[in-house]
C-alpha cells in the first residue's frame, strides 16, 4: 500500500517531527496513512486521541456510546463544559478536528460487543484500549488475538496505572490475567475514584507506544507491564510472557471464537430484563460507558 504524500501544510505542521531522523518524512507519511482505534473516549482515550491527532495519525476511530457528564471533565480533556449532555463521540470529533482538520475521525457510537467487534476493529492498524470494565477488556483482547491486531493496553486506579502492548503471537491479556475477578472484587474508578491527571500519563504512554508501532521505531513495551505509581512517582515493570497454556493464544487454545464476556466475568447482563425484552437481539453489551 502506498503511503499518502505530505502537503506543504503538512510540512509546516509536522516540522518538529520531520527534523527527527527517527520520524522524518517517511515516518510522517506512515502516521498519515495509519488508522488507530480508541476504545473509549474517556480518561485514557482523551489524551491519547488528542496527541495522536496532533501527531498526524491520519484516521482515528472513537468507540463510545456515552454522553459527556460534568463529572467526566475532571480528567476527560477531550471534552468541554459546553458539551455536557452531548455525545462523547461528537465532542471528540469536534475537538480533534479543531486541533487538526486533516485527521479523519470516525465515530462508532455503540457499545463494543461480540457481534460488532470484528466489524469495528477490521479497518484499523492499532487498537488502543481505554475501556473501563473487565468484560470489554477480555472482549478487546480476544478479538485482537483472533484478528492479529496489536493492542495497546492501559488501565488506571486512583493513583496507579498499568500499561503494556500485546503483539500478535507474543502473549495477550489472558496470559497476564487468565480469569477476571469476581464482580465487585475490584472497585471501578466510579466507586474508588481516580486522580484526574493520572489517565493523562497512562494515555500518553499508550499514544507513544501506538506511534512507535506505526513508525517501527524504539523498543515496544510488549512483554513488559509498566506499573506507574503517581504517589511515589515511581515507574516499575514486570515481565509478561506468552503462556503456552493460554486459553486464547496458547499452544492448544480452547477459546477460538468470541464468547459472552459479561457471563465470563460473572456479571448479570447489564441491560435490564425490560430493555432485553424490548430488544430482540437481547445481546447485553459490555460497554465503554464511563466509570
Amino acid at each position: 500500500m502506498s503511503l499518502p504524500l505530505l502537503t506543504p501544510e503538512d510540512i509546516r505542521r509536522y516540522h518538529r517531527h520531520l527534523i527527527i531522523p527517527e520520524v522524518g518524512s517517511a515516518g510522517q507519511r506512515k502516521l498519515k496513512g495509519a488508522k488507530v482505534l480508541l476504545i473509549g473516549a474517556g480518561g485514557l482515550g482523551s489524551p491519547a486521541a488528542l496527541y495522536l491527532a496532533a501527531a498526524g495519525v491520519g484516521t482515528i476511530g472513537l468507540v463510545d456510546f456515552d454522553v459527556v457528564d460534568v463529572s467526566n471533565l475532571q480528567r476527560q480533556i477531550l471534552h468541554g463544559t459546553s458539551w455536557i449532555g452531548k455525545s462523547k463521540v461528537e465532542s471528540g470529533k469536534a475537538h480533534l478536528t479543531e486541533l487538526n482538520p486533516e485527521v479523519e475521525v470516525i465515530g462508532h457510537e455503540e457499545p463494543l460487543t461480540s457481534d460488532n467487534v470484528r466489524r469495528i476493529f477490521e479497518p484499523y492498524d492499532v487498537i488502543l484500549n481505554g475501556c473501563d470494565n473487565f468484560p470489554t477488556r477480555y472482549l478487546a483482547n480476544d478479538a485482537a488475538v483472533f484478528m492479529g491486531k496489536p493492542l495497546v493496553d492501559g488501565s488506571i486506579f486512583r493513583f496507579e496505572g498499568q500499561a503494556t502492548v500485546y503483539l500478535p503471537g507474543k502473549g495477550c491479556y489472558r496470559c497476564l490475567y487468565p480469569d477476571p475477578p469476581p464482580p465487585g472484587a475490584v472497585p471501578s474508578c466510579a466507586e474508588a475514584g481516580v486522580l484526574g491527571i493520572l489517565p493523562g500519563f497512562v494515555g500518553v504512554v499508550q499514544a507513544i507506544e501506538a506511534v512507535k508501532l506505526i513508525l517501527g521505531i524504539g523498543e515496544s513495551i510488549n512483554g513488559r507491564l509498566i506499573l506507574f505509581d503517581a504517589l511515589e512517582m515511581r515507574m516499575r515493570e514486570v515481565r509478561i510472557r506468552r503462556d503456552p497454556e493460554c486459553k486464547v493464544c496458547g499452544d492448544n487454545p480452547t477459546v477460538t471464537e468470541l464468547i459472552d464476556y459479561e457471563e465470563f466475568c460473572g456479571m448479570p447482563h447489564r441491560e435490564s430484563s425490560v430493555e432485553r425484552a424490548l430488544d430482540d437481539d437481547g445481546e447485553a453489551a459490555p460497554g465503554t460507558k464511563a466509570a
Binding site: G45, C131, F157, F159, E160, P181, A185, V186, T288
Partner: protein, 92 residues
C-alpha cells in the same frame, strides 16, 4: 534475611497504608502466609479457598510471574522483591 514486598494501593488499607513491607520469608507461599499473619485479611485477597494464588492477582519475584517459576514454592532470598499486581480495569 529480608525480602521486600510491594503492596498495591488496593490492599494498602490492610497494611496500614504501607506500600512496602519487609519480611523474612523463604518461599512465595511463606511470604503470603507471613503477610496474612502480620496483616490479617490480606491472605484471602491473594489466595482462594484451596490456597491457590487468585488468577486475577499476579505475584512477581524480581519482575518474574511466579506462575512461570515454581508458584508458591518459588524460593526467596535476601534482597528479593516480591510485587503484588492485581488486575485493574479502569480507563475512563
Amino acid at each position: 534475611m529480608a525480602i521486600k514486598v510491594l503492596i498495591p494501593s488496593t490492599l494498602r488499607k490492610l497494611t496500614g497504608d504501607q506500600s512496602l513491607v519487609s519480611l523474612e520469608s523463604t518461599t512465595v507461599g511463606g511470604c503470603l502466609a507471613d503477610l496474612d499473619a502480620q496483616y490479617p485479611g490480606i491472605g484471602e485477597r491473594l489466595r482462594d479457598e484451596e490456597g491457590e494464588i487468585r488468577r486475577f492477582v499476579n505475584i512477581y519475584v524480581n519482575g518474574d510471574d511466579v506462575r512461570f517459576l515454581e508458584g508458591p514454592a518459588t524460593p526467596l532470598k535476601a534482597g528479593d522483591e516480591v510485587s503484588i499486581v492485581p488486575a485493574m480495569a479502569g480507563g475512563s
